[in-house]
């Protein structure tokens, strides 16, 4: 109990004093997970929408695969990405193992199926006639897709939250492909694991609290947008 109180006090000390290392770690976490979420959004929303709107053989199988992908274990992704990009791996020439880029890639792989699955469901949930209605008003294919995406923006925001929440709190893949290098690829989760290992529970708790606050703030912001949209 004393440890938790200490941790909370330490957390506020670190936050209030703008500890440069903690700030750096927090900022890096945001940048990496934000970029990964953004990438997953581009790929996930487009692919999810495309799958939802087209009919092809094996569509059910593809949807099952996407839904399975929503639960991809991060360590499996971490392992897979590591094997792909290590020096002697097929993508070794990129030389991105133990870099923030590798973390972005791994996190994007984790978040993409989540975003894709939710987008797919969101677009499928729209009335099938809506698509025809939009086309009949003279929309081109892209205009039609854009209107549908806009129409499904509430569940899509949920997809962003789920994707971001999934990757910012993820540690297994990040530590494997990022290496937890100080000032370079150390993010809130990997730092928390390390500080726990070092027995610095107060700092670990502090980092954990910052992570929580961060996740809360981002979700709060998105929820605000969502609620405002709904109320309109």
């Amino acid at each position: 109990m004393e440890l938790i109180v200490q941790g909370i006090i330490k957390a506020f000390e670190l936050i209030i004093s703008f500890d440069p290392e903690v700030l750096g770690i927090t900022w890096l976490s945001l940048k990496i997970s934000g970029t990964a979420t953004f990438i997953s959004l581009l790929i996930g929303v487009s692919t999810g929408t495309a799958v939802a709107l087209t009919n092809f053989r094996g569509k059910k199988l593809v949807i099952s695969l996407i839904n399975t992908g929503m639960g991809l274990p991060p360590v499996v992704v971490g392992l897979f990405v590591t094997i792909m990009i290590w020096r002697n791996g097929p993508l070794g020439f990129l030389e991105i193992l133990y870099t923030p880029y590798a973390m972005i890639v791994a996190q994007a792989i984790i978040a993409t199926p989540i975003v894709m699955g939710i987008s797919l469901a969101a677009i499928q949930n729209l009335s099938p006639n809506l698509r025809l209605q939009i086309l009949s008003l003279g929309a081109g294919s892209l205009q039609m897709v854009w209107v549908l995406i806009k129409e499904a923006k509430l569940p899509l925001l949920a997809a962003v939250m789920a994707g971001f929440g999934g990757v910012i709190s993820e540690v297994g893949a990040s530590i494997m492909v990022g290496g937890n290098i100080k000032g370079y690829s150390r993010v809130l989760t990997t730092a928390t694991v390390m500080e726990t290992g070092k027995g610095n529970f107060d700092i670990a708790i502090a980092l954990g609290i910052i992570l929580l606050i961060l996740a809360f703030l981002v979700n709060f912001l998105l929820t605000q947008i969502q609620q405002r949209q709904q109320a309109r």
Binding site: S46, R87, L142, V145, G199
Partner: protein, 291 residues
């Protein structure tokens, strides 16, 4: 009728995705430091957990312009990385495994850097009555006899390798015993588990000292020659793995054994823990250590 297919939609989306991917690739290319700048140092957790590398690496980077990516794992995994050419230089403490690593031609230029010692720690109540025993083998025998809980790292790290050697010397096979448990975690976490469960464990002195304040575990056995914890630096064999940054690896290894750094190692931790965590040994022979 072809015109009704939404293939155009997919096409467009795919092109968009591709453009984005290319864009990202450009960012990657632009931000990537020149290849030879990066050094991957695979090392044991103890060098990171004690904070030693946090002091040394910035010095090295500042002096040489190299960028060191420290991957802190167990010695076993560190050598596995070296074996696959996925690291450039290793700083590890598992001498038997290191010899095998060298014999298989995976490493170059194995040099002694420093040592400290392992200690057997346990709860103050000391149920196996091992306190102040001189021989680690006797202590382990007593633990086994008393069926007292012993936490093993079980992760193939240097400490774990040392622990296995010690059991062998004590002629005990603890595997599968009820009182013998494996955490599969790093040193710091294993110490915490041992503290929680009031068990014994083998730890390196550096990590123990760094964590001591929260633990409630006492040093029970120390000073046995068998408990020496010796760190070597090795460069990964570039002949075997051409992508290894050999000049960087050599620069780092040279740095570690240089007089100035050895002096820093000698005093590291004194201000914080009252005694040094490591003893610099560059240029010495293993046989002379601890004497």
């Amino acid at each position: 009728m072809k015109i009704f297919r939404s293939s155009k939609v997919i096409e467009t989306l795919m092109i968009a995705a591709l453009l984005f991917a290319l864009g990202t690739a450009n960012v990657f290319a632009a931000k990537q430091e020149p290849k030879q700048k990066n050094i991957i140092l695979a090392t044991t957790t103890s060098t990171q957990d004690t904070g030693l590398l946090d002091v040394l690496i910035p010095l090295f980077e500042k002096e040489t312009g190299y960028f060191v990516k420290t991957i802190a794992v167990g010695s076993g995994q560190a050598m596995a990385m070296g074996q696959k050419g996925e690291a450039d230089v290793l700083l590890v403490h598992s001498p038997d495994a290191e010899k095998k690593f060298m014999d298989e031609g995976n490493g170059l230029n194995r040099r002694l850097v420093m040592h400290n010692d392992f200690i057997i720690v346990g709860p103050g109540s000391d149920p196996a009555k091992i306190k102040a025993m001189k021989s680690s083998a006797d202590a382990l025998k007593s633990i086994a006899k008393a069926n007292a809980l012993f936490m093993s790292r079980g992760d193939n790290s240097g400490t774990n390798a040392k622990e296995k050697t010690l059991w062998k010397r004590a002629q005990i096979n603890p595997e599968g015993q009820k009182w013998y448990q494996q955490t599969g975690l790093g040193m710091g976490q294993t110490l915490n588990v041992a503290a929680e469960k009031k068990g014994y464990t083998l730890a390196d002195r550096g990590t123990y000292l760094a964590l001591k304040k929260n633990l409630g575990l006492d040093i029970l056995v120390e000073g046995d020659a068998a408990l020496l914890n010796i760190y070597h630096v090795m460069e990964v064999n570039v002949a075997k793995w051409p992508k290894v940054n050999i000049s960087g690896a050599k620069a780092f290894a040279d740095f570690m054994v240089s007089k100035r750094i050895q002096a820093i190692i000698k005093t590291f931790g004194t201000d914080k823990y009252g005694s040094p965590l490591f003893f610099p040994d560059a240029g010495k022979k293993v046989e002379d250590l601890g004497k």
